[in-house]
Every structure is written in C-alpha cells, then in structure tokens.
Symmetry: D2
C-alpha cells in the first residue's frame, strides 16, 4: 500500500504527544531509574503515583508512574491546540464508533479517554497546569539531562492500517520502511510537532508500546548515561546502542526500566514543518535503515514491548523478517 497523501486540514489540531502512564511494580525502583539515573524531575508524588517532567517542559507531566501488580501502559496522552479542538476531537472519535469518556486527570483541564481502532488507549486534553521554567536551573540537571519527551513507538499488527488512521487525524509520514516483497509498510514515522515523529509504528504482535523517547542535548549526554548505568547496577538495562539510526538520522540509545518498559534516548533528528516534505523510503533489507553504521539490533528489541491496558493482542501476518543480531 502506498503512503497516503498527508491530511493538510485534519478534523482537529493535535499539537504534540504529551505524556505516558506507566504501570510499574516497584515504585521506588522506578523512581531510582527515572529520577536518579535518567534525571527527570519530580513534579508531584505520593505512595502510589509519581509525576515527572523533563528539563525544558513547562507542562506538569510527561510521565506518570503508577504502582500496580503487573507492568503495563495505562494511556498515551496528546495535547490539542485549543478547547474547541477538544470538542471536535471527541465528536470525531464518537463518529468513528470509538468510545469517548470524559475523565478527571489531576493537573489537566478537560480530558477525554478513547482508543484507536487497534485498542491503544489514548487521552486528549488542551490545557495542563503550566509550571515555572527550570531549563536554566542548571544545578538540577543530572543523568542524561532529558530535555523533553520526543515520541512514542508502537508495535502494530497492521502498519498500513495504523498509518491510515493516524494520517486521517493529521500525523504526516516522514520516513517509512517497505517490505518490497509484499509491498506493505513494515514501519512508519509520523509527526505533528515538527520533528521526525510524535508516533511511529513497527510491524509486530500488537498493539504494544515499543518505547517512549526523550530528547537530550548532544551525543555526549548519552555517553554519560552509558557510563553511569554501567557502573551503578544498570548494566543489564542497556539494550541497544549507542548508534545512529539510518531512519531519522538521530543518535540513539535504548535502555529498559526496572519493569522492562523501553526508553529511547535520542538527539539530532531534523525539522519537518514543511507540509510538502517528501517521506523518505527505506527497504526492509537495508541494514543501514536500523543503524547507519551497520550493527543490527538484538532480538529483544524486535520482540519485546509493553502491553496496553485493556488492548487485545493480534499477530502480524507479514512474513518478512528484519536483520537481527545473531
């Protein structure tokens, strides 16, 4: 299936991805990972929940950690442009026959919960409590110096269908991988906020969350994190990298939190605000697609992901296989 033409005038205006809720089995262990190691800032916490933001963010939270019995992903949050967009969005999802539940979320204005056609729980809001800037409070910077949440990457059992849906609500494809044999998309990167992606979809048993990514200042911050994790008991949590992606051109590292939720540390992709930006096509058989420098990803990176609360899993029917590290 070819990449659809971008939806220049979508039914409502999504500004960007906003936040993720991770259910975790040991809140103290997760705090040590996200706060003491990655360097995210706590904006509120009690014995069941921790709210976190990155250094340049002024919204109240980009990650919500919630204590639970088993690890999962409670929701993916998106910020809409304005309150009228919120009502347009709610109406649009209802029109699609998808559930729309208005929910109370601390530190957020009016918020509704829905899901995409594949079962991913989505929440939309237009206004979240704004906090005072801390990006020049350099004493607070630590760990990998995370600046902002960058994107969500999800396993999809039908990437073409995922592209079609998210394209309809205004996400534009910037790069994609084609399985030349079947002519189907293996993976796609789609943006709203002007980088390579806010959301991406990769072929596999889904829906599952592959990873959430954070933007950092330079590759040296990623090297600092590797040194820190390697010498503070997190050696086994380093999964892949550092390296440069062929797709997106970003410098990357993948690490796993104590429950196995995958976090990408990411910098230096490119600006994509032009509405006539041509998508870049890659071939599934090109090893530089994954890593420009040639190293394949490990099997765990292709197979493991976080389940979404309440989403039924479906296997992909694609038979093609990426190159996996032996």
């Amino acid at each position: 299936m070819p990449i659809p033409a971008p939806t220049l005038y979508p039914p409502f205006n999504i500004v960007r991805l906003s936040h993720v809720e991770y259910r975790v089995t040991n809140l103290a262990a997760s705090r040590a990972f996200y706060v003491d190691t990655l360097g995210l800032q706590v904006t509120d916490e009690d014995d069941r929940t921790i709210y976190l933001r990155a250094m340049e963010e002024r919204g109240h939270h980009c990650i919500v950690l919630v204590q639970d019995d088993t690890p999962s992903v409670g929701l993916l949050g998106f910020k809409l442009f304005d309150e009228p967009d919120l009502d347009k969005a709610a109406a649009w999802f209802a029109d699609q026959g998808l559930p729309v539940d208005w929910v109370e979320r601390p530190y957020q204005g009016r918020t509704f919960r829905t899901q995409d056609p594949f079962g991913i729980p989505l929440e939309f809001y237009a206004r979240m409590d704004r906090l005072a800037p801390i990006h020049q409070h350099y004493k607070l910077y630590k760990g990998v110096k995370p600046l902002r949440i960058d994107h969500f990457n999800m396993f999809s059992a039908d990437v073409d269908a995922s592209i079609a849906f998210y394209n309809t609500i205004g996400f534009r494809v910037t790069e994609y991988t084609e399985d030349a044999e079947s002519g189907k998309c293996w993976a796609a990167w789609m943006h709203r906020k002007g980088g390579v992606h806010d959301v991406a979809f990769t072929n596999g048993r889904g829906p599952r969350l592959h990873h959430t990514a954070f933007w950092v200042p330079t590759p040296l911050n990623i090297i600092d994190l590797l040194d820190l994790m390697a010498t503070t008991g997190y050696l086994a949590n380093i999964e892949r990298g550092p390296g440069r992606h062929g797709i997106s051109n970003a410098f990357f590292l993948y690490v796993r939190d104590p429950d196995g939720h995958r976090i990408e540390i990411y910098c230096s992709d490119y600006m994509t605000v032009d509405p006539d930006l041509e998508p870049i096509k890659w071939d599934l058989k090109d090893p530089q697609r994954q890593t420009l420098w040639g190293a394949p990803a490990p099997r765990s990176w292709f197979e493991e992901g976080s389940v979404f609360e309440g989403a039924a899993l479906v296997d992909s029917q694609l038979k093609a296989q990426p190159i996996i590290a032996p």
Copy 2:
C-alpha cells in the same frame, strides 16, 4: 506596552522563515565565506548570483547572494502552508494598504513581494523546488556544519509596533526584554515553526537586519568554526562569542561576512509548539539576558546592521541603553 495575546487563528498560515537575499560587493569573497568557511552548499550559481542551502534543508535556497555595488538586504522570504494561504496573504497585505507585487523567482512557485509597515521587504511563497536529501551525505559536511536557517533578527525603531504587526499575522512572542523605566519592549523573539523564534526585533535605528542565524548540531561545531576562522584570515570577522544567551538559552557565535552582514551560529534553544507557552520576560538591566555567563556584547553588535533595499531609516525614541562592553 504589554505583550499582546497570541493570535491563535491568524489570517494566513506562515510555516517558517525561508530565505534571505544578501547583496554583496565581491561574490567570490562571499562564496569563500559562506561555502568554504561556513559550509553551506551551492545549489546553483552564475557570475551574478549564488543559491545556497544548509545540510538538512530540502528547499532550494536559504540564502541568495547577489553581486551589487553596495551591500544590502534584498528581501526576507517566508514559506506559507499552501497555495490558498498565498492568496489569503496577498489579499490581507493589500487590505492593509501595503504593496503586493507578484514576482518571478527562480526555483519558487507563485511568489508575491510586499513590505511590513516599517519598510522591510518581504516575499511569500508556498512552494519551492525540493531537492534530494543530503543530510546523510556526511562527506559534504564542512565548516560549522550548518543544518538549517533558524531566524532573522531586525533592528526596529518601535519594537512594540513591530510586535503588534507580526503578532497579527501569527508570530507568537516567546521571550522579550522590557525597558522597565518606559514600560516599553526593548526586544522580542517571535516564532512560527516551533523554536524560540523565526523573527526577532531589537530596539535601534531601523528597519535594518541585525543578523540571520543558522542552526548547528552542537557547541563543538561552533568551536571548530572559531578555530577555522581564526587561522584562515577571518579573525576580524569574529564579533561576539562564543557564549550562551540568557534569552533563548541558545549557545551562540556572531560572525560578519566580507560585507559586514552578520551571521549568528546557534544551537540548543527549546521547543515552543504549545500555544499556551508563557512568554519569558527579561529586564533590560539584567546582564545575563544577553549572555548568561555575564560578558556584555561589543558596541558594534548593538549599533551595526544591514540596510534593507528601499527602506527609509528611523531613529528609536527610547532613551534606555543596554550594557555595552567597554
């Protein structure tokens, strides 16, 4: 004058700043500076004109160098979202009583030339020839490794009036400097594309172009450029920096081209896509506003700029003075 509320639904959709036309008196000398030293890529040239793009840009040009008898700025170019926006924009400018001339520009689609109320020549288009990506052609990277044009900064004899005009057409203030005594704005930074600015205005005899800025990957590229310029005959062209701006938090360097046109090299500001992002206010008397680390800018930086073709100059009536290096 307080900062006006942002125009959430402007009369037409400007995507971003696009390009500048610099009139230069020695095209070969300018080529040595922009191509061999800064590292911009030539996309077309003849004996009167050179078209340049930066490494991640796919539009045909971000700088057009034109041989002339005296140095000046021929135009500031902006990209609109779509062809309908182009017609809406032309109508809007005509409604303001501003001139609208449809012009032929190589490598661009329909383009009109107008000016802002202060005389700055502006050109708008929606489509420019798109070139194949070169951001992964690493053999081409040289000089400061310029990735993309980032912003224009202009002297304005009435910053409040400049803010009001550009706010009306959708630029949003992200940071500004107030002259506490007069209650007027000394300077303002306004964006469309999601960084701290596409355009900025600084108090002074105007309108003049203070500088055009290019985004680079890391501060180390700026250090590389300093080393290169200092040892290839461009020592006197280094005007200010390196340093970190208080405003924008960006790491910066200012250099002058052979005709004195000022170029800023810039990296690491922050994302501003949220429509409810609160502007950050600075006091004119705060030295960290200019340089977070305290060093004041030299007198030339406050006083010298490039004239716009055909624009009459007006002195500012503000009496306040910034801190200038002795």
Copy 3:
C-alpha cells in the same frame, strides 16, 4: 635572552607538579566552590583543613585548603621519581644556599620544604598515600568533572631568571612569548610530565601564583561549568573565557574562588615527551597568543594573583604591555 638549551640530565628527577596549599578565609565557602561546584572529591577534612583530589588521581591530594585569616598560597608541591631523588634534590637545594627543611605532611612520605631563588615556597616528596581508583565511579562525577591537576602559572618579576632556574632542574620550555623590543621573555611554559606545562611564568609583580589549572575531558564540560556557575551565584567569579589559547592550543576558562584564588579549567593541549621538541615562539604583540580567536584578557587577569606565604614582592622592570581588554 634566548631560551636556554634543555637540561637533558637534570640533578634529580621531578615527575610532575603535585599539589597546592591554598589558605582560605571561609572554609565552608571554599568547600562549596571546590567540591559542590568544580566537583573535586574530598579525601579528608576537619574544621581547619580539607584535602581534595581530582577524578583520575590516585595520590591523596592535589589541593589542600587551610582556614586562615588572610588568603595566600602556602606551598607548591612536586612529586619526585624515587626516594634517592629526594636526597639528591635536598642536597642540590642546599648547595644553592636555599633552605631545606624536612617537614611532616599528613599522607605524604619524607618531604622537604625549600624555596626557589625568588621566594616561592616549594615542597618535594617521592611518595604520597595512594587511594583506590575512582575514575570509573561515574556516579561521583559532577561540576566540571575535573580529571587531574595540570599546572601552576606564576607571576615573575624576571621571567628570564625564572626560566634559567627551572630549566636547570629539568623543566623544558615548550612555548614562550618574547618582548621583541627588549629581547626578553615575557612569559614561558615549561613541562616535566609530557604536556605543555607543569609550571609557567608570566611577567609581573612577583612572585605570585597566577593560577592552578585542572584538566577536564572536553570543552563541553567547561560550558557546563559556566552554565552552573552563572545560575548558582558565581557569576562574578567567571573572569575570562571560554576560549582557545594560541599558546598551548588549549581550550580554557578562568574562574576565581571565594578568596580570589584563580583556577583555570583546561583541556586539549598536546603531548611534549620528545626531548627534541622545539619551543614555539610568540610575539607579545600578537593578540592570538592569548586567545586564538582574538578576544583580549581583562585587566584583572594581568594584574591580580595570590601571594605566597613569606615571599617578598618585586616589581618587573619590563616596560612592554600586553593587549588588555578595554
């Protein structure tokens, strides 16, 4: 006076500079500066004295802070190769008619105190307590990530005489500045350990300690320190930089401790172990000597320094003047 030929077989073997004793008037304030801000590690402390080491050092201390009524420098320490060298050195200083006092120094083996002919208090030892490596304890790294003490720079009222003396005991000139008019040396950089210098001398009222330098991994660590100091109350302690020295080619920053003792943060000079390395000569009138990028140093940098305990000050007779920032 020409630079003397290096002493290939000196009377005793100095391995490297080792440590400095700073007398400070507020030990808590100094601790906040050296430990919490620069990131040196405390190896011992009581209410009168703090011992510090840098991250890759295994000797017990590179700085000793001692509470006192007025700021001064108690001693410059040097490490000798072996115990026999210590006896040869003591005999040699005694032969020159210089005082030799065997002193007790915590954490050091046999140590004697002497002075150079100009009154600088020097202490020599061969063995200091060795501590376990911490260079891979990345959790401890903070501030500017100081790796090791690099050099001492001193004001000398007669640089040629200082060069002659230190050359005799094996320090080799790597670079020097000549005052072309008088034919005298304005400044010289002399090494033992294989970098551009362990000691340097600059013309001026002396003897005084101009600064002690620390080596850090990359220029980005220096930028981090600037950001930190600028936002934690140390703005006025930033004196000069960042920049690249023409001499030594190092990337540098000069900061002042709470008592005004000057610390240089320094990286990326070059290896000088070849005994036939030719000294590089600079002209006092060449502004790139100071800063390759052209910015002159401020007046304080040329005029202020720390007095040595017990050393009488003498004015230089040279009339030439360096270029000073206006």
Copy 4:
C-alpha cells in the same frame, strides 16, 4: 605469574612508540583510507611509499605505507631519548643474542633494526626530521582529526613472557587481565610515554599486530568518522564500537583498512607518569573489561591480525576463552 615489579632504571630510555610500516596491496586504496577518510597528513610520497603524520606530531612520520604483494607489518618503530641511548640499546639487544642491523631510513638519524624474542621486528632511533607544527592549521583537519599515534597492540602466544621482556626494557604495566584458572596473564597494557600504553599484548596466535591506535580530541570525532565511513563505502570496514573500554577507560572505535590492518581510534584514557602507579587487575570473565557498557567484541576482533614480516607464528597454550559476541 604475577606482574613483575617495574624496571625503574631500564638499560636505555625509550621515549615512546614512534611509527609503523604497513605493507599494503593497493597504495591508492590505502591513501584514500588513511588520508581522505581518517585525515592523516601526507609528508612525502612516491609511487611505492607514503609517509604520514598526525596533526600534533612534529616528527616526520607515524605511518609508512609501502606497496607490496601481500599485506604485512614491516616494523614497529620506537624513539629513544638521545644518541647515547641508541648505542646502549644496540649493545643490550646484541647481549641478548638478538640481531642488530644498522639501517638507512629516510628522514631518520641513526637507526638499528632488531627483533624481540618472539620475532616482532623493532627499529630504534633517537632523532627523526622535525617538521613545522600544523596543530593550529585548522583548515587541514578532516576525517577523525587524528592528533597522534597512541599505541600498538599485539597478539602474543605467551603474554607473561612478553610482559617480562618489555618490562625489562622499561615499559610499565598499567592494567592487565588475568585468566583466574591458569593464573596466567591474558593481556597487559604497558606504557613509556605517560598514557595507559605504548604497547599491549593479548593472548593469541602470535606474534601478530592486533592494531595501531590514534588519539583524537573527543568522542564526537569518532561519531563523525562513523558517519563518514558508513556513507562513503566503508561500512564493512567498521568492526567494533563505538564504546568505552573497561580497561583504560578510553572511548574507542575499531576500523579495518583496505588490507584488513586494524586501526583503533581512541581518546580519554588517563595519565600514568607516577612510577608508583598501581596496575589495575581485571578478570577474563568480566565482560565490562572489554566494554564497560557490556557489549562483547565480535569474533574477528579476537582472531584476526596482521602478520609481521619474517615472524614465525606460534599458537597460545591457554585454554580460557574471552566472551565473544554470538
């Protein structure tokens, strides 16, 4: 076998490793690799031979490329302190029953060729032509910006014996890997010039040259080289890295030249001039020894190396195996 005590007063004074002669089968292809890609500078060349130096070196050559029918290593060169050391060294090798041949080498003073007891061809000299400094000719920097040759690493069939021999002539062990089962050394790093090593030995069929290493300014230069090689036809020449070694703490990358000779790009180890520096011991079973971040090296890295001209190969008798990437 325990690590022997360092030889504090060796029979002659080796300053540092100096140069390597690589026999290559396609001089033009090798030039494209070493000059156009790595960025070494040509100091002389004809149709059979190319002499290269790195950016901060003032000696005439650190690599000599010689056209030949099959790839091999012609010699490892070392610089002695002074001419008397050259005679002492020649006498000492002769006393050991090792061959001593005085040879003519362009751009070098008196030079003799010998071999170590395991057949590695060694050449010693005290003086080589000195060239004008180019370390501030920033226009010349390209590729990975190689600053200086750093070390040789060799396969040895009996690492304990290699340590014993090189220790006798003054090389000091800084770090080593023990095979706990046999009590034998698996690998050792030994220095003269004040870094972690000038020479290293790794267990394996030997003698063979494992790699020659070059020092570069920062990890970002290594990332630049990866990007360049990955997009200019050298993808298959990237063998291992980037990463941080546990041993030496250096940031590294291994690449292969067109004949398979292995080059390490290396930065940020630590200073080792103290004669009482304690060697750091690692266990062969510790995966962080190889790469602090945990990734094992590929099989080729453990098994492939360059043969020395005229040296007979012997298998190691050690049965222990390092951890190899699957």
